[in-house]
Symmetry: C2
Subunit: 369 residues, 2 copies
C-alpha cells in the first residue's frame, strides 16, 4: 500500500478503532439496519441472487405460520368465496418469472436532510426466480364481480407504524391485478419460500417497488372503493410536505449499481485495487418492464459508455461492463442508467419526505495502488 498521504489512505492504514467524527445515526436506525437486510454488493456478480443474500424489508415481525393449517381466504366481490389450502394452490398451473425487486426506500440514508426510517444506502435490490399461480387465474376462477375496483392483499403481520396499529395490507387496481406477470408465489429460486420471504404465500408484482409484493398473504378481498389502509393511503407516497396528498409510489425508477472492484477494508468498506486493466461490472434495471438502454460510467467525473449484456428476463436487471486502465491514485466511480422511456438517473438527490424512489447515482471510492 502507498504511504498514507490522503484521508482514504490514512483510513485504510489505520490500526486503531475510533469513533468516527461524523457519527449521526440513531440507535433506532441501527436496529432497522440489522433487521432489514441489504444485498451484499459483491452479489451483483450473480444473475440470480442466492436466496439468503436477497434483500429483506420487514415492517413488523416475521410471522411463524403452520403451513398445514394455513388457508388462503378469498372473499369480497367474487361470485364464489372460498378458503384454499396450500396443496390446492400447488395443483393450479404454475409460472416462473425472473424478477428484480427493489425497496422504495433504497438510498434513504444518503438523503440530506435524512428522513428517519429504514436507512438503506444502495443495497436494497436483488433478483430471484419466483414460481407461483398467476393471480388472474385465481381471480377468474373466483368470478370477480364488475363492481370491484381494487383487490386487497392482507398479510399475517401486524404492528404499529407512525402511531397507527394495523395489519400490513396493500391493494392493486383490478387492471393491475389482472396483469399476466402478477404472481401468487409459492417458491423462490426453486425451493418453497423461507419464512422471511413470505412463507407460505406472497404476492409478486414485477416492475413495482417491493411494498406491493405483500408477504404472508392470508386473505385476498375484492372491494368496491379504494382501500385506505396505512401502507396504501399513508405510507409509500411521494410528498414534499406532511399534509400533501402525495403521489402513490408504484414502479421502480431506473438505476444502476457497480460491483465494487478490488478488495475491501473491513470497517470503512473502502476499496483498494491493483493498477492495470480491469473490467468494471454492474447491473442496471428499471420498472414496469421497461428495458435499460444505456449505462454510462464515470471515473472521477469523466463519463464513458458501458457495454450492455442480454437482460436476464423482462422484469430483471441487465449486466453491464466497462474496461478501465486503472493508474495509481484515488478515484470516485459512478454509473448511470437510462431506460427505453428516456428516464435517466439524477446526479443530485431527488428529495421527498419519506425518502422514496431516490435513484441518485452511486459513488464508489477506490484507491488504485
Amino acid at each position: 500500500m502507498p504511504p498514507p498521504t490522503t484521508d482514504l489512505a490514512r483510513r485504510l492504514a489505520s490500526t486503531e478503532s475510533v469513533l468516527t467524527e461524523d457519527a449521526r445515526f440513531g440507535f433506532d436506525e441501527l436496529q432497522l439496519a440489522f433487521r432489514n437486510r441489504g444485498m451484499l454488493l459483491e452479489a451483483l456478480g450473480y444473475d440470480i441472487t442466492p436466496t439468503g443474500m436477497h434483500f429483506l424489508l420487514t415492517h413488523f415481525d416475521v410471522p411463524q405460520i403452520d403451513a398445514g393449517k394455513w388457508r388462503l381466504d378469498v372473499g369480497g366481490l367474487f361470485a364464489q368465496k372460498f378458503a384454499l389450502p396450500l396443496a390446492e394452490l400447488r395443483k393450479l398451473p404454475q409460472k416462473t418469472l425472473t424478477v428484480t425487486m427493489e425497496c422504495a426506500g433504497n438510498g434513504r440514508a444518503l438523503l440530506n436532510p435524512r428522513p428517519v426510517g429504514q436507512p438503506w444506502i444502495n443495497e436494497a435490490v436483488s433478483t430471484a426466480r419466483w414460481t407461483g399461480v398467476p393471480l388472474a387465474t385465481l381471480l377468474r376462477r373466483a368470478g370477480l364481480r364488475p363492481t370491484a375496483s381494487e383487490i386487497v392483499f392482507w398479510g399475517a403481520d401486524s404492528g404499529i407504524e407512525r402511531g397507527d396499529e394495523h395489519t400490513y395490507a396493500r391493494s392493486l387496481k383490478v387492471a393491475d391485478a389482472m396483469r399476466e406477470e402478477v404472481l401468487l408465489a409459492l417458491d423462490m429460486n426453486g425451493a418453497p419460500l423461507e419464512p422471511q420471504h413470505g412463507a407460505p404465500l406472497r404476492l409478486i408484482v414485477p416492475g413495482w417497488y417491493g411494498m406491493a409484493s405483500v408477504k404472508w398473504i392470508r386473505r385476498i378481498e375484492a372491494v368496491e372503493r379504494p382501500f385506505e389502509g396505512h401502507q396504501q393511503a399513508h405510507n409509500y407516497h411521494y410528498r414534499q410536505t406532511p399534509d400533501a396528498p402525495g403521489v402513490p409510489v408504484t414502479h421502480i425508477r431506473v438505476r444502476a449499481l457497480i460491483q465494487p472492484p478490488g478488495i475491501a477494508d473491513f470497517v470503512s468498506r473502502a476499496r483498494v485495487l491493483d493498477a492495470g486493466r480491469v473490467r468494471l461490472f454492474g447491473r442496471a434495471w428499471s420498472g414496469a418492464g421497461v428495458p435499460v438502454t444505456h449505462v454510462d460510467v464515470a471515473i472521477n467525473g469523466e463519463w464513458r459508455p458501458a457495454e450492455l449484456a442480454v437482460q436476464v428476463g423482462g422484469y430483471a436487471w441487465r449486466a453491464w461492463s466497462c474496461e478501465w486502465d486503472a493508474q495509481p491514485g484515488e478515484y470516485q466511480l459512478s454509473c448511470r442508467a437510462t431506460d427505453a422511456h428516456g428516464e435517466i438517473q439524477p446526479l443530485e438527490q431527488w428529495w421527498n419526505r419519506s425518502g422514496m424512489g431516490n435513484n441518485r447515482v452511486q459513488k464508489v471510492a477506490v484507491l488504485v495502488r
Copy 2:
C-alpha cells in the same frame, strides 16, 4: 393504546419521523450493520434457524467460487499432500450436528465506551444443522506428522483490516482440531452451503465463537509453530489496553435471549402487549458443549426461574419459558442463563477493547395495555 403519558408511549404514538437526539453511530457502522446480518429475534421461535435468517459476519467480500474448479489443498506436515475436488469430499463418511453459533462481538453496540467494529446489538446468534466430513477423518487420512502443533485453515477471502492486508485464516491446536465434533461442512440445513455461508466448504467448530468456523476453505495446512495471522494473533483477543498480549477468544460464553412478546413498533422496535397471561419464551446456550442448567427471568428487576425444555443437541441452544400475568404498565424484561460450570451472565457490561464476549443480560422494554 393508552394516552401517551410516558416516553415509550409517546414514541409509539408518534406520527412524525424525527432524527433521534442520541444519534451516535457513524456511517461506517451503518454499512457494517447492513452487511453483517443479525438473526431477527422472532426467529428464536425456531429450533433450527431458517437458512436465510441465520446471522452472518463477513470480514471482506463473499467470494464467488466455481465449485467445479475448486479443490481443497491439504499440505504442510502431512505424510500425504493432495488436492481434493468437491465430489471426492462428498464420498467420505458424513456427520450431521445441530450447532448454535454466535459471533464473538455480539452485544458490542451496547458497550460504553463502544469499540468501533461490527455494531451487534444482541442478534448475532443462530442454530443450524451442519453436515460434513469430520476433520479428524481427513487429518488421519493425510497422515498428520507428530511435529505438527496446529492446523491452519485458509479461506478464499482477502482484504484489509486495521491497516493489515491479509487472507482470512485461523488455526486450531492439533488436540482441538482432532475433536470429533469439528466438521468440514458441505451442507447447511439439508442443502449445499449458500455462498454467504462459506460455499463450497467451511469449518464448523461447535462451542466456539463463529470466528473459528472459517468459511470458503481453500487450504488446510499442518504447521510446527503457532500461526501468527492477523485474525489469530491480533484480532479476537480479550484485551484491556492496545499493547496487552491479551487472551485468545475461544468458547462461547453463557447467554439467554427473550423472543420479544407482543407486537412491534416499526421504527423503535418497542413492544406492545395486551394485558393477560402470556408465556414468555426464549433460548439459552453456552460454549464447549456445556449445557445450560438455569434460566431466570426478571420483570422490572424481580427475578423468577424459567422452565427449561430439552436441549436440541449437545452444541445447541435450549428453549426456556415462563408464565407472566401481565398487567397494564411499562416493563423491562430480562433473562439470565447459568451453565453447568456455574458460569452466569453478568448484569453489567464486561468491557474489553474489541468488545468481544460481552454476554450482559438483554433488556426488552414492553408496554402492556
